[in-house]
Symmetry: C4
Amino acid sequence: MRSDIERIGKRLFAEGLLCGSFGNMSVRSGNGFFITRSGSYLDVPGTPVYVPMEGDVPEHASGEYRVHRATYGITNHQAIVHAHPPHAVACSLACDRIVPVDAEGMLLAPLIPVVGGACGSDDLAEQVAGALNVYRVVVARGHGTFTAGENLDEAYILTSLAEHSCRILFLTGSAGRR
Amino acid sequence: MRSDIERIGKRLFAEGLLCGSFGNMSVRSGNGFFITRSGSYLDVPGTPVYVPMEGDVPEHASGEYRVHRATYGITNHQAIVHAHPPHAVACSLACDRIVPVDAEGMLLAPLIPVVGGACGSDDLAEQVAGALNVYRVVVARGHGTFTAGENLDEAYILTSLAEHSCRILFLTGSAGRR
Amino acid sequence: MRSDIERIGKRLFAEGLLCGSFGNMSVRSGNGFFITRSGSYLDVPGTPVYVPMEGDVPEHASGEYRVHRATYGITNHQAIVHAHPPHAVACSLACDRIVPVDAEGMLLAPLIPVVGGACGSDDLAEQVAGALNVYRVVVARGHGTFTAGENLDEAYILTSLAEHSCRILFLTGSAGRR
Amino acid sequence: MRSDIERIGKRLFAEGLLCGSFGNMSVRSGNGFFITRSGSYLDVPGTPVYVPMEGDVPEHASGEYRVHRATYGITNHQAIVHAHPPHAVACSLACDRIVPVDAEGMLLAPLIPVVGGACGSDDLAEQVAGALNVYRVVVARGHGTFTAGENLDEAYILTSLAEHSCRILFLTGSAGRR
């Protein structure tokens, strides 16, 4: 699983969907999940940290563990990717929901909700988890995407797709319109 | 041929002409063609799948095989590349045909038709094949480029060129004008 | 330390935060600092050059050593990265201070000062050092970012973050407004 | 020299200054120059071809050899790089000369002339050579940059710089103004 995390991290980095050491990802396992380390670069992530669904959280787990825990708690998703794709972030500052106009976006993520909540807060965790219970892609306003699926590849592909769709919205001058 | 597919896939990915696992490519062979696998990343494509010109299609062939089959059926092209270059996709939402203003585009793809048709439909297949019978580059509206040529390199170069030309159109404010 | 410089240089180059052989970085050591070589590519930097806090400067030290010396002289920073991120440079031409609107920017660099001063001048050195005594990110107008921190990773992450924040400002049409 | 060509080609490709197999470069040698092969990818260029200053040109030499020959004929430059940086190409369609507003551009290429001439023509060769006799960077309108210097690194760095300067012009809304 560590090699999957690194493989996906390298793709996210190469596609320009991350900046610096921001972003994180996790994979459900037993009654908890493995999550990337706090402050790690996702393309060279090191050993992921196991976080149980309840109780204390190991010191080196990503500070965003609350979102992952809340999402696994109320959904059946098996993996979550959190990235900072620039066009998706910019879109989220201009509208409350993102409606792709490109073919792939319309097919796979026809409505992308935008939610609020401060970085690392329980509020953000609840709002993202609630959205991911209905959708597979959500954008935290001005912050980044959270995508979920059967595995890391599925979540990554949705991240890449969301950025592609938002880029098309910007290029066609449709970002911010509804 | 598998190594050619991988080599071209890596170039397409490095140039930002793909997103996630979208896009596909094929090479004509005998009375059929080898096509990339459904859901594969084009930069690590694995073994391509042989699709005959008629009859059943193997399970793992790219879902876009209809476009490739229809194109090989009515043209002499030997290879086809389908990608999702962002500026070409955005251009196709703003106009019915793309007219490059840069020197290479004017020389090698002076008129790029835009066609309709839903992803994976026979309608799309017919429209793309019809366009590729006359041109070497076509954009499926809001979806992506289909380029064809003597070999994968030729088709890839046209994909890269089309995106370059469309980017210049956007930068110069000419996209959407005719 | 040389391997850290090369590792960070490769990240900066891959993220598009450098162009050609421009940019430089340094790490404090004893009563001076190691700085990248004049004219070197930061992703293949070669052996860094030791510059003492006072006195003669070795021939091959980056011409920007004045900024680094002045900054180490009046701050406690341990490492400095100077890059040319395009959106940050463009932002600096439009305003006197950059105020991020994205979540990470608001958290980690809520106000990014813009300073003047000609390339390689003592004026630039003084202005950048003064700003880095209060902030961890500063943009030299029309020139590039200077970021500082406990180590090269921290400075690099702030460079990447500043560019991300400025890109969001441009995408949302907020660049130049205050 | 072949390894220098490949090293610089890889940098140009990684920075997004090339598309497909377009672009070429050369290094003066004796009474002629080595130039990249026609149709080769500059990041995997293969063996360069020797072109004498007068007389027949080997079959596989880049079709743009006329520009290189004319430039070496009337200047002292030792190396030439021709690339297709998108913002420089777009700028050249909007104005007759490019005046950078960023610090590095103002220092190293304060005025970048734009010239005309069809791809592969003697007219283009003459105009580019004439401009490179005075400047180190020139843009062929709607086509690409030609940069020259003491060696390939110098020419490459000017290519990268020109694109950076033109990108800043676009971001700040100054492209096309004079």
